[in-house]
Symmetry: C2
């Protein structure tokens, strides 16, 4: 690509390393950035650096935050005895958008996956066990509903069961508004198995 | 979005300002960046800033470059008497990828568009006229084949015609490999009008 200057080629390459950004998109973004006002470019560049430098794990729930303790764990309105286990900060955000959950979270940062070589020690499981030594009423397991998520849920269940803490798993079934004919067989079966009485 | 920390929210917002990057993609990119090694993040951030700071117009053809004169204009192997007029550096790159053109370019940085309020003075037209005072054999007009591109091509033709310089327009017709049934009527008509003898 020597028909662009080195600076443009470098920018296209760096942008192209991001997930889901192919060469064409990287090129489009690069030219957009070059045509942006200088202040905006500086702001973009500084925000990227600053986010990486200042983001750390919350000391309690291990979500990504720029404070010692994240706003959720720091809030006095949240029930500290109700813990929802999620795989990532994005999952936490998904439930926070719903806005109906008033407990706290525990972010694992991954799920057990023998395929990818991710074992129980590679996710924040030990940290969960430490938290469970405090007074906890209920542990809601909200890992994803795929192989890795289910494996992780099962592993946590076995690990925590002996302590006698109440454990629940978020319901799995037909999504609201979903057409039955478009839904996979496993989900249909799950929805049938977990049917509720009317 | 106060369930993310300010730093993450800022990063998502800044990335979301880029064209074609919606909120979901911005979120995905932001979390990817936060999980990237620090050196990679610094490199991305620095490359963005450095590209904006060092990219300028080539003094001859006005393409975007980090040198006074771009590699194409500086090359001794390129025919300076053959100038192809394109709308953007991306269009120049498209022809350079083909690798069969040995002339030089003139980048207009836009096209005349009364709809968007872009007039002849808003693109690098005066600069083209200055270049045409030198010895030029042929001017190839390779603006896009849309309303703005055609308007610009017509305008340049009227402007340059009196000087007696040979002017050509890139051919317009059915793209190679294109199915006739999928091609719009204007293109089909154009292909018929400009049919060549076998």
């Amino acid at each position: 690509m020597d028909y662009f200057s080195t600076e443009i080629t470098n920018l296209i390459e760096e942008l192209g390393r991001l997930p889901g950004i192919g060469n064409k998109t990287a090129q489009r973004l690069a030219f957009h950035i070059i045509h942006m006002p200088k202040e905006q470019v500086d702001k973009l560049s500084d925000t990227i650096k600053s986010a990486k430098e200042n983001i750390r794990f919350c000391k309690e729930c291990f979500t990504l935050t720029d404070k010692e303790i994240c706003p959720i764990c720091a809030s006095k309105e949240r029930n500290k005895k109700l813990i929802m286990v999620v795989e990532s900060t994005k999952d936490l955000a998904a439930y926070e958008k719903v806005g109906k959950y008033d407990g706290v979270y525990h972010v694992l940062h991954g799920a057990i996956s023998p395929m990818l070589g991710i074992g129980p020690n590679d996710i924040k499981l030990k940290e969960l066990m430490v938290r469970l030594k405090n007074d906890v009423d209920e542990l809601i397991i909200a890992t994803n509903s795929n192989l890795e998520g289910e494996t992780t849920a099962m592993y946590i269940t076995k690990l925590v069961k002996p302590s006698g803490i109440k454990m629940t798993r978020i319901a799995s079934g037909v999504p609201v508004g979903g057409d039955l004919e478009c839904i996979d067989e496993v989900t249909l079966l799950r929805a049938l198995e977990h049917r509720i009485e009317l």
